[in-house]
């Protein structure tokens, strides 16, 4: 192992420019991927925020007995899709309407507004089909006059989410593939620069494993350093955007750690592929 590390250090010392170039290339490839990840994260969070407002409002018939309402609330709360059920009395509805539309506050009268139940759904159950299904079940109560849930709005929101999700995966894969190709090519340059040394090592009886090891460690370390630099750059970009344009969120530490580790693994795999190809050919 000592010898392997000595070879890694020798490799770096021998071609500092190529080593720096490798790390910078890896850093910028991962930075582009990181920025894209940040975009996906924030778009997803924004959509999730909007989605939380998906709610079903069931208007109740006048004169519905409080016991019936309580029983229905109990039933509906027990639906697996339902997060919470709130009862809104005509007085509460009036206060809300007056607050939201102050110019009409003299027009409203509590007697115009029916009592209602506001049903919020759990995360993962806010898609149009589930919302419609829950709505239909609520409609079966005889004292429910009407149920509203903004069908068009829910559908549009989901279309946007689906498009954003698909675009996110496609572009993410594309960015990742570009990063892997660029990193692989950079590492291949390092391997080619040392091809003479590799041929001498093999000539004197070094095993493929022995030849490969320093390159794998070299690739992993460069990937790791590149990943750290990319994380710093992404954090800097996020800081600038957050302080000058719009409020954004950053990756949580676990994801950031995985990103840096991912850089190391891409470096390792890139090296393994490049050296493997070189050894098979030589």
């Amino acid at each position: 192992m000592r010898l392997t590390f000595r070879e890694v250090m020798l490799g770096v010392r021998r071609s500092p420019l190529l080593s720096t170039l490798s790390v910078v290339t890896i850093a910028f490839s991962l930075f582009a991927f990181g920025l894209f990840g940040l975009l996906v994260l924030n778009v997803d969070r924004a959509l999730r925020g909007v989605e939380e407002h998906v709610e079903i409002v069931a208007f109740l018939a006048d004169g519905t007995l409080p016991e019936s309402i309580s029983a229905a609330m109990g039933d509906i709360s027990a639906f697996p899709e339902v997060a919470r059920v709130d009862q809104v009395s005509p007085e509460q509805a009036l206060a809300r309407a007056r607050a939201e539309l102050p110019e009409f506050q003299d027009v409203f009268d509590a007697s115009f507004l029916p009592p209602s139940l506001e049903v919020r759904l759990k995360e993962g159950h806010r898609d149009p089909a589930t919302v419609k299904d829950v709505t239909q079940r609520i409609q079966t109560y005889p004292f429910v006059d009407d149920v509203r849930y903004g069908e068009d709005w829910v559908k549009k929101l989901y279309d946007i989410r689906n498009i954003a999700g698909a675009a996110g995966i496609a572009l993410g894969l594309l960015f990742a593939a570009v990063a892997v190709i660029i990193i692989g090519t950079t590492i291949r340059m390092t391997v080619l620069a040392r091809s003479r040394e590799i041929s001498i090592m093999r000539l004197v009886g070094a095993t493929d494993g022995f030849v490969r090891r320093p390159f794998l460690i070299d690739g992993f370390l460069k990937g790791l350093i590149g990943g750290l630099l990319a994380l710093l750059l992404t954090w800097g970009a996020n800081y600038l955007i957050s302080h000058n344009l719009i409020q954004t969120v950053f990756f949580d530490p676990g994801i950031a750690f995985l990103g840096v580790l991912g850089g190391g693994i891409i470096g390792l795999l890139g090296s393994a592929l490049s050296v493997g190809r070189h050894l098979r050919r030589a």
């Binding site: 041929s199 090592m201 000539l203 004197v204 009886g205 070094a206 095993t207 493929d208």
Partner: protein, 235 residues
């Protein structure tokens, strides 16, 4: 030590490099491999060090049949063979000592024994005072001596030399060749590819000559080699 039986080597791009070559180099023997450029000498040497495998026929080196040898076994076989090239193939950024030690290190030799072994080998090749010199600080002959010392680190049973004097002047050639003779006298078989007909003629060692991929002469067959040897044209 080396046994070629009806060996054929064909490359996809350049075609037939060796055609039905059969010969044998015995333990402790010294043999010249001669022939014009492109005759197949380097292909034979590459087959011996298992850089190539035969298309047909059999190559046996130190008892191992190379065609069926698993990839993982090749390094072990190479440790029993020393190899020397015309262009020395030394690592330019390492001293003579480090170049020799490197060959020991890659084979996993115990660290504590390496300096003494390197020093002994440098003395053996006449470079005891040049251990800390870098290749570019050494003459061609000295660089080849370092390469020979490196080839000897694992006490090989066979030394394969591909034009080892090709880049050297007469004096250096004599020195390097004497070194190869000494190594052979100590029991290591030597197979030396060369264009240097003077060298071949001045010595009584066995001569194997190839031309256009075929073995055209082998002095071990008892025909006397002088006439055939002169048919080799220097590069």
């Amino acid at each position: 030590m080396i046994r070629f039986s009806h060996v054929v080597k064909e490359y996809p791009r350049t075609g037939l490099a060796l055609n039905d070559v059969t010969f044998r180099v015995n333990k402790g023997e010294f043999a010249f491999l001669t022939g014009p450029s492109g005759a197949g000498k380097s292909t034979i040497l590459r087959l011996v060090i298992v850089e190539e495998r035969p298309t047909a026929g059999e190559v046996r080196v130190s008892g191992s049949l190379t065609s069926g040898l698993p990839r993982g076994e090749i390094p072990r076989l190479r440790r029993r063979i020393g190899v020397v090239f015309q262009d020395f193939r030394l690592l330019e950024d390492r001293t003579a000592e480090e170049n020799i030690a490197f060959a020991l290190e890659v084979t996993g030799a115990p660290r504590e024994g390496i300096p003494a072994r390197v020093s002994r080998l440098l003395t053996q090749v006449g470079l005891a005072s040049k251990g800390t010199s870098y290749p570019k600080e050494l003459s061609g002959g000295e660089q080849q001596r370092v390469a020979i010392a490196r080839a000897l680190v694992n006490d090989p049973v066979l030394l394969v030399a591909d034009e080892p004097t090709g880049n050297l002047d007469d004096r250096a050639t004599r020195g390097v060749f004497q070194l190869l003779r000494d190594i052979n006298a100590a029991g290591t078989a030597v197979l030396m590819a060369t264009h240097n007909l003077e060298l071949v003629k001045r010595n009584t060692y066995r001569v194997i000559e190839v031309n256009r991929g075929q073995l055209v002469f082998d002095s071990a067959d008892g025909n006397g080699g002088a006439a055939t040897v002169t048919s080799s044209t220097p590069a």
